[in-house]
Symmetry: C2
Subunit: 402 residues, 2 copies
Amino acid sequence: MSVTAPRGFRASGVVAGLKSSGARDVALVVNDGPAAAAAGVFTANRVKAAPVLWSQQVLRGGLVRAVVLNSGGANACTGAPGFQDSHATAEHAAAALSGSAVAAAPEAAGTGGRFPSIGAGEVAICSTGLIGERLPMDRLLPGVDAAVVGLAIDGGPAAAEAIMTTDTRPKTTVVTGAGWTVGGMAKGAGMLAPALATMLSVITTDAVAGPAVLDEALRAACRVSFERVDSDGCLSTNDTVLLLASGASGIAPTQAELTAAVTQACRDLARQLIADAEGASKEVAIEVVGAGAEDDAVEVGRAVARNSLVKTALFGNDPNWGRILAAVGTTTAAFDPDGIDVAVNGVWVCRSGAAAEDRSKVDLSGRQVTIQIDLHAGPDEATIWTNDLSHAYVHENSAYST
Amino acid sequence: MSVTAPRGFRASGVVAGLKSSGARDVALVVNDGPAAAAAGVFTANRVKAAPVLWSQQVLRGGLVRAVVLNSGGANACTGAPGFQDSHATAEHAAAALSGSAVAAAPEAAGTGGRFPSIGAGEVAICSTGLIGERLPMDRLLPGVDAAVVGLAIDGGPAAAEAIMTTDTRPKTTVVTGAGWTVGGMAKGAGMLAPALATMLSVITTDAVAGPAVLDEALRAACRVSFERVDSDGCLSTNDTVLLLASGASGIAPTQAELTAAVTQACRDLARQLIADAEGASKEVAIEVVGAGAEDDAVEVGRAVARNSLVKTALFGNDPNWGRILAAVGTTTAAFDPDGIDVAVNGVWVCRSGAAAEDRSKVDLSGRQVTIQIDLHAGPDEATIWTNDLSHAYVHENSAYST
């Protein structure tokens, strides 16, 4: 049920004609309340898309009533006119939503069955697609109108579908707490990023929680989920993760409970992103243990995850541990080069920095690959998820402008 | 004439049976003097191959009489026994060379037509090939003997051939000064690196110059040549560049003259590496101008050079400037995201961070590509050379263990 699993949310996904394929391309998620607290995490890329700049402003208030998401265009590198397009979209959505009927959401904090009157500053915007082109506003704004009309308490799956680009399937999640629920959707199959892996994700909950609690939960969750995914090392201009709380359950979990549930939702979505990464034939977990610090483990895992020679070797079913060691050697992590152990799918092919078990014992025929790296430098650890580098990746990213 | 273009050098390249192909795989370069000053630059990878650890020790003395190079095995991640193999190779070469006839090099600083008696500490070792396996010493040492016998003043081309791995052609260069010469060879077609781009290179000169002058010349040259090449962002365990001076010309150029000649030789070799990079269909020059500092220009150029989405777009003849901007945005360089101009093959497709000239005007059908990035943040600039990311790269690096 995606973002509409928690009470107090409606969503929709419609065809606005932004995608030439004719598939759904505008999604709307609204928070019917009673609360409308929110938190957001955005791309670390300094070249930020207009919707990111807009939504960062909106999130500063900690209050979000609606999120408009579109595929079919990133509205990035579009200058001041592009920012005005994001602003106009928020204005348009706010006007269309204000006073609209919410009969379909009977549990909503009754304002006489009507959505409250809201301003553009309560509407976040997310966009994904080709960089450098303006959005066709003559199609987008009617699409927003249609999305408002289409809002439904079971609209989560349609919304998840509408934000897909090169994704082959929608990504959704539901995590249940004691009387409260977390739901979520995400898209992203390319440009999975070092600092923030997903292009777009909206997480919802009916828990009672204010902006500060949501912010802490979302940052903690992203740090060990989306930020541990590194498919191709490329950092998008548009990455956005939003967490919205309606409070409709009437239950206020502890910070720890909320953080745990949001983390589980984000991890579930992050794994779905890796599973559907562009042209990947392997899903690779790089488990770094024995690190002197968690940051060291993350640095080592990421260096291995981004190494083209490691990734092509995995595509070729070659347990080339020498390339793994060469990647580890590029980091500043604490380790002794002659003290590193490496296992591929459970076979310790490298002990103390040199050949150990016979590499021919390694079975790489399956889709799931686990690389274990023991730095023997301390008690800390981290796992990074990545993919192989395949012909299909090259094909998908060379044949299409995305 | 490669490394034997300057006077005072002999070289050879022989078949020792390290490569299953039966091609030449052991090279020897000797400095017949009268001087034997040397400098070296080595990989920044913390996982260093045994020959790198050995040669770093040798170079500390600033004196190198001979260099043994082998393809067919990197002798990396081989622990203490691997280091002992490098040591034994140097011992073996020193013994075979000491007192051997140098009739073929009449201009050599006469010791009665005999090579002087040298120790292992005057012999540098370079290896390239698969990581993680011991070298077959029973083949390598007889190969060294054959290489000593084969030494010739026109042996440079054979030596350049013997160090090839996945290279499709040998790389050599000659730069002439006023009465003195610089010669060189290099190999490297994969693992072209962020911190040092070539796997192996030996530069020779008959100029009169001491170790400190050579060191300054070599570091300055590498900084703007091999270190500006970034084919796949992968840093090798074995990268080594050596500069040997025989003094046989009797002419001592100024530091500036020597640096300029060595830089020209290194740049020529670096360009040959990019031209022959594994599976590349494009040679790409990324010219960053208007930078606030040279380091900023290098950081931006490298971020673009390593971006898989930029590289696959180039393979697909797609002037996808949005991906270029997204890569620039990941850096810490000084710039205003709304103030960047980008040209692809001369067409300014992006001005002030947004779309400008029609991207369809860009002709990417040729092999040479120039990307110009103007940061509008200062007077500094740098050029990074890279390649596209092609099906052939994936094929070559997934189908073979290298």
